[in-house]
Symmetry: C2
Subunit: 110 residues, 2 copies
DNA sequence: TCAATAGTTCACAAAACTATGAACTGTTGA
DNA sequence: TCAACAGTTCATAGTTTTGTGAACTATTGA
């Protein structure tokens, strides 16, 4: 198991966070499992699109499914997934605030 | 600034983690800034490839550059970036271990 | 038995991402 | 002034990812 291979697996699991629908699903699932149609109701869009995106996350190992006879329940495999997401969101917020500060400075110099 | 737009920005910043070269660069930079050629020496590959990948991270706001007359120094914009990466790596490790356990069970049942 | 519900799978076209190598910019030291 | 160094930019071709809509599977309740 060489170094580059690990980086590639690591990138694959991070890649599973890199889509707006999938980020939204993670946010929705942060407090516990929900069934497919409940997630669909919140996220919107086509069921095929959501199904494919959820399955990408299951394959990456960041989501798991519990199949009931009437419903497929999705949940995070670990709270770490949401924590990582949250950290990246904080980085985003910080960057947006910084941009805003720069913008204000430019405006005040007009 | 609507909800879906935030998810899309959030995904963009996560997307910047979703490549093996970029993951490796983050690991390399976790202890502080390094200049381009030092990173290149560790990562390997073409300088154009590395340059483009670093610039993707700078644009996403997870890396910053300090330009010296003789060198371009890259560093993480926040320790949160590395922490998020680390959490995802822990999820990966856990998944690999779980796979391994399952594999052992299957083997022992032969 | 049959319609409805719940969701997955598939093929496909458009869009995005990637690495490559050549060309380019800017700086330094001889 | 000129070669060497440090790195970026660009065009390009190949690969991957994306969302869409249709078709499909499985379960339930009437």
């Amino acid at each position: 198991m060489d170094e580059k291979y690990i980086y590639s697996l690591h990138a694959d699991i991070c890649k599973a966070l890199g889509n707006p629908i999938r980020i939204e699903a993670i946010e929705i699932l942060r407090n516990g499992e929900l069934c497919f149609s409940d997630i669909l109701e919140k996220v919107g869009g086509l069921k095929s699109t959501l199904s494919q995106n959820l399955s990408i996350m299951v394959n990456a190992g960041i989501l798991k499914v519990r199949k009931d006879s009437r419903c497929n329940y999705y949940s995070l495999t670990s709270p770490k997934v949401y924590k990582a997401c949250q950290l990246m969101r904080e980085v985003l917020i910080y960057n947006l605030e910084k941009q805003n500060t720069i913008l204000s400075k430019i405006k005040s110099e007009l």
